[in-house]
């Protein structure tokens, strides 16, 4: 285990050290201590390494992640795992606004609550939130899966494209063009796999599925005069 102490190491050095670890690295396990809410910790990683951040982080932790497994032993500030491509990000505590925004792939697990705009414009990432999510989550979400064991806030899935949303608790309100849909066997399979990988103690049958009514983003000839 390699330890980097942020009390004595500049952020640029922390990130360039981690970014230098590629597929052939033999230093697979890293620990970051004293993050103290700093911004942009462990961003742009591109190697199969494990990074444990011991404490809470500020804006944009684990952004643009590829391949790496990043574990935050604390809570995360706004924009955690933004635009993730692959790999895993696990947050033991809560996540602030727009967690997993625009993510293309990989798995984001939030063991506490996520606040507003979780998974906004997600493009293939899988997000599992053990607690609740705030308002405007999955706004314009294009693909991927958002799984919520708790409750969802206002306007879930507003202007949704093809992302799948699974909520176990209540949904305060659905956004424009987001509707409840039937849970088919293939969805239960997807959920089972995600819940297992996220270490979530819940049964797929307890969830409801929400998705796009596909009325907003398809061209409708009746609206031709509006263009």
């Amino acid at each position: 285990m390699q330890t980097i102490d942020m009390a004595s190491t500049e952020l640029r050095e922390v990130n360039s050290t981690l970014q230098a670890q590629k597929a052939d690295t033999n230093q697979k396990a890293w620990e970051i201590v004293n993050p103290k809410g700093s911004h942009a910790i462990a961003c742009g990683l591109d190697g199969p390494i494990e990074v444990t951040v011991r404490g809470s982080t500020g804006y944009y932790c684990a952004g643009m992640n590829k391949q790496a497994h990043i574990h935050i032993v604390g809570s995360a500030g706004p924009g955690v795992a933004e635009n993730m491509m692959s790999g895993t990000v696990v947050i033991d505590g809560d996540a602030s606004q727009y967690a997993g925004a625009t993510g293309h792939g990989g798995l984001l697990v939030i063991k506490g609550n996520a606040s507003s705009r979780c998974g906004i414009s997600m493009k293939g990432i899988d997000i599992v939130v053990h607690g609740n999510i705030g308002h405007m989550s999955a706004f314009m979400a294009q693909s991927g899966n958002l799984v919520v064991l708790g409750d969802a806030g206002d306007a879930l899935g507003d202007s949704l494209y093809e992302a799948r949303l699974f909520v176990r608790g209540t949904v305060k309100s659905l956004g424009a063009d987001c509707i409840e849909k039937d849970m088919r066997p293939e969805h239960l399979e997807i959920l089972k796999d995600l819940l297992e990988r996220a270490g979530a103690d819940a049964k797929p049958e307890q969830f409801k599925r929400y998705g796009s009514a596909r009325k907003l983003y398809n061209f409708d000839v009746d609206n031709a005069a509006a263009y």
């Binding site: 809410g37 809470s56 804006y59 809560d94 602030s96 507003s116």
Partner: protein
């Protein structure tokens, strides 16, 4: 973007350290607001005096023998402590209005930052670190305090445009965000007799709350109604003589983190501002919900 910090102490033994804790938090928020900085501190109510914190662009001239001149003009004892561009005048409660009137006549260049039993406000243009040093903020003690680092969007970078804004006795407000209906609201409040010092949108929010409280609302109720009447982006932290409140608009774009222990309630625009508080590793840390009023009273 702006930075907000706030600290409401439950444990009296921390009171001598309030200034140093808040200063540390304020400086951490420098990159959210390097234009100007300010702090409101609530001390102990040990006497029946009113404190006026005043500011001048020309303190050498304006503060020269000001206490003597005011004492003579109002036939009462006025004491003065000068701190850089600010001075705290103290006078018995029943002469406070006379002193304020005399002040406007004798030294028209002086601006009143705050009036109240215990509040003192210090604010200036410049880096938070420099502002804190000029006013020796770290030396101050008190029961609660609020600080702000400003990155101006809606009005000029001036001393009067810096936060906190105080529009009523022992009241203050700091704001991160921008209001879109402040002009129409300002006109309404003016008709209600409220006097404005600036064109700043945040001053309108402060005056709105003052007006509500003048009409019988408590801090919590005033904050509750602000959610209906104020349009725009806001995270507000407000102080009263014995209270401390937080509210965010329903969209809640402007960041906010709170922490509570047996010793204190703390607010920061970011968690970074809270990391050096005692016992933070075991504090309850949470993000205040949108359109939800939080307030504490001593």
């Amino acid at each position: 973007m702006c930075g907000i910090v706030g600290l409401f102490l439950k444990d009296k033994s921390l009171e001598p350290k309030l200034g140093s804790m808040l200063t540390d938090m304020l400086i951490t928020m420098t990159d959210r607001g390097p234009d100007s900085a300010g702090i409101a501190i609530y001390g102990r109510d040990e006497d029946s005096n009113t404190k006026l914190t005043v500011q001048s662009g020309d303190p050498a001239e304006d503060f020269a023998d000001l206490d003597k001149a005011l004492s003579e003009a109002t036939n009462t004892q006025v004491s003065m402590r000068i701190k850089d561009t600010h001075a705290v005048l103290e006078v018995s409660d029943d002469h406070a209005d006379d002193v304020r009137k005399a002040l406007a006549e004798l030294r028209p260049g002086i601006r009143v930052m705050s009036v109240g039993d215990i509040i003192e406000i210090y604010k200036e243009v410049g880096l938070p670190k420099d502002v804190a040093e000029r006013f020796e903020l770290a030396e101050m003690s008190g029961s609660h305090g609020i600080g702000h680092t400003r990155m101006a969007t809606e009005s000029a970078v001036t001393t009067m445009g810096a936060h906190p804004f105080s529009t009523g006795s022992d009241q203050c407000l700091v704001h991160n965000g921008s209001l879109s209906n402040h002009n129409s609201l300002r006109r309404k409040l003016k008709r209600d007799g409220i006097v404005f010092e600036t064109d700043n949108d945040s001053e309108v929010a402060a005056a709105y709350l003052t007006n509500k409280m003048n009409h019988g609302s408590n801090l919590g109720e005033a904050l509750e109604s602000s959610l209906d009447d104020l349009d725009g982006f806001f995270t507000f932290v407000v102080g009263t003589k014995d209270g401390f409140g937080v509210v965010r608009d329903p969209i809640a774009c402007k960041p906010a983190v709170m922490a509570e222990t047996d010793q204190y309630v703390a607010f920061g625009s970011e968690y970074r501002a809270l990391v050096n508080l005692p016992g933070i590793e075991h504090a309850r840390v949470w993000e205040p919900e949108p359109a939800t009023v939080y307030f504490w009273e001593h």
